[in-house]
Amino acid sequence: MTDSNTRLSTSPEPDRARRRLLGGLCALGAGTFLTGCDRLSESAPVRATLSNVEQLSYKAQRLIASRQALAKEFDESQIAPVFRPNGTTNPQEDYYRAWVENGFADWRLTIDGLVEEPMTLSLPALREMASRTQITRHDCVEGWSCIGQWTGVPLADLLDRVRPADTARFVVFHCADHTYGGSDLYYESLDMIEAYHPQTLLAYDLNGEPLPVANGAPIRLRAERQLGYKQAKYVMRVELVESFKQLHGGKGGYWEDRGYDWWAGI
């Protein structure tokens, strides 16, 4: 033992300079990394990678959730006293003001695009159709949640009536409002799986009362397995399309055109 110790004690002291250099490199690396991430956020290839991540989340969630898997429904006692409105809460467009003034009597919903039988429906006509009522939790992308009771026409029933063409792949919802006074009208889109989901409604009642203006009167979309920005308010027209590339910013929705994921299931 002594032998080997003696032999080893002749080895040099740890190389302090090398250690300092390594430490410095680590600190430099950390700093570069953080400013780097900020700068990377602006670069095109990084954005492409990030959108692949969105595809990954989409496919993984399609894998674990069956097409029919229902969002949890709640008890009447759990309904929030006030359903928090977000985004546009009082559209100022002239046509919209006029609808509000006469109780949406002149308002019509148009369903067209890649369908065999386009149609136009008044609010009473929608109310006469079979309805579904559900108490669900609205999850905003910002992080908060609110429980409300929605009554409306299952979108699947409307789609059955207009008979989508084989080429139709997405359902686009065109809205009446310019969110935050921007130049674009709000719009959203769903794929056919979400569109035909039993809890996907065009809702006209909130908590048993006609939908208030703040929450999207006269009708809004409810797609309960998606985040809040998918739940388009003030819907005027439902259009079936093969691709949404030609619409507005081409990303399939108002917030999507501003960088948000089209797949709003996460």
Binding site: N5, L50, S57, R84, V141, I266
Partner: protein, 293 residues
């Protein structure tokens, strides 16, 4: 004798002086563990900072399914004080704390602005929820599969189980180990001590799974697929609160971890996680033989 000792002693072992305890260098961490460790560091920094960006979009936490906006459990905001000055405030369970300059109100490009976590703590620095979400999900897709694989590996391989699950002797020695830590007396042995093992187990099988599951359950489509998961956490807003509290606990672990790495021989510790080589005292205090070769 000297032949056989030479064979086990690493050829460039250094610093052994006559009279001092004999040491030798072992291979402590496998390449897989080392790569995993540093990938985790990068992922966790990205996850934390992008998570704070996401939190800033609605800087309040609640218990239950939904948000009781008037009564958050924790909220970070800015308000105008009685003297007319703007101040940052953190409210926890009804108690308010002045956090001006860091939380609630902080410097943002030379101007005091209302934001829950300051610019330097979020990714990206600007208020940019969607980019924060993008970074968060990218890092999560790297981090989560690796954690799951590592946990399975740890449970399934007997050698890994021995490395992480404490022996009866180590558990009994915990008070002594604690005392030694308090005196900054560290024993460099091949095996982790009882405290280390319990801490790593708590992080690996406690904090990380809660972190991952509470994160998953915030996704509305996961919620539809696995409603029991949300119920397990007591509702979506509770899950969000647990997610935040676990992140805080992980920061706590990180701070203690770094502190101990620094005071218990920073070069030796770092080297063991870079090249895998770790210097131990040959005559281990509990008499146990090194198990990782």
């Amino acid at each position: 004798m000297s032949e056989s000792v030479k064979a086990t002693i690493d050829s460039d072992s250094t610093g052994n002086v006559p009279g001092a305890p004999a040491t030798r260098v072992i291979k402590r961490h496998t390449l897989a563990t080392r790569l995993w460790h540093w990938t985790n560091l990068v992922c966790l920094i990205v996850l934390l900072m992008s998570g704070l960006q996401i939190f800033n979009a609605h800087p309040a936490l609640y218990w239950g399914e939904q948000s009781d906006f008037a009564n958050p459990f924790i909220a970070i905001h800015a308000r105008t004080a009685e003297d007319g000055e703007r101040m940052g405030v953190v409210r926890i369970a009804g108690q308010a704390f002045d956090t001006t300059g860091v939380l609630g109100l902080s410097d943002d490009n030379g101007q005091l602005r209302e934001r829950a976590f300051p610019r330097w703590a979020t990714l990206p620095g600007d208020k940019w929820l969607t980019m924060g979400r993008n970074w968060h999900f990218l890092a999560a897709w790297i981090f989560v599969p690796l954690v799951v694989a590592y946990l399975l590996y740890t449970l399934l391989v007997p050698q890994r189980r021995r490395a992480l699950f404490p022996t009866w002797v180590q558990l009994k020695n915990i008070p002594r180990t604690l005392l030694d830590h308090a005196r900054l007396r560290f024993h460099h042995e091949a095996d982790y001590n009882g405290i280390q093992k319990l801490t790593y187990l708590l992080v690996l099988f406690g904090l990380l799974p809660v972190m991952i599951l509470s994160g998953l359950t915030m996704a509305p489509s996961v919620n539809a697929a696995w409603p029991w998961l949300t119920e397990l956490f007591g509702g979506r807003q509770s899950a969000r609160t647990f997610h935040f509290l676990c992140a805080t606990a992980l920061i706590g672990f990180f701070v203690v971890h770094i502190a101990l790495v620094l005071v218990s021989g920073v070069f030796n510790n770092l080297r063991s996680m870079v090249s895998g080589r770790y210097r131990i005292q040959v005559e281990a205090h509990d008499g146990s033989e090194p198990k990782h070769d």
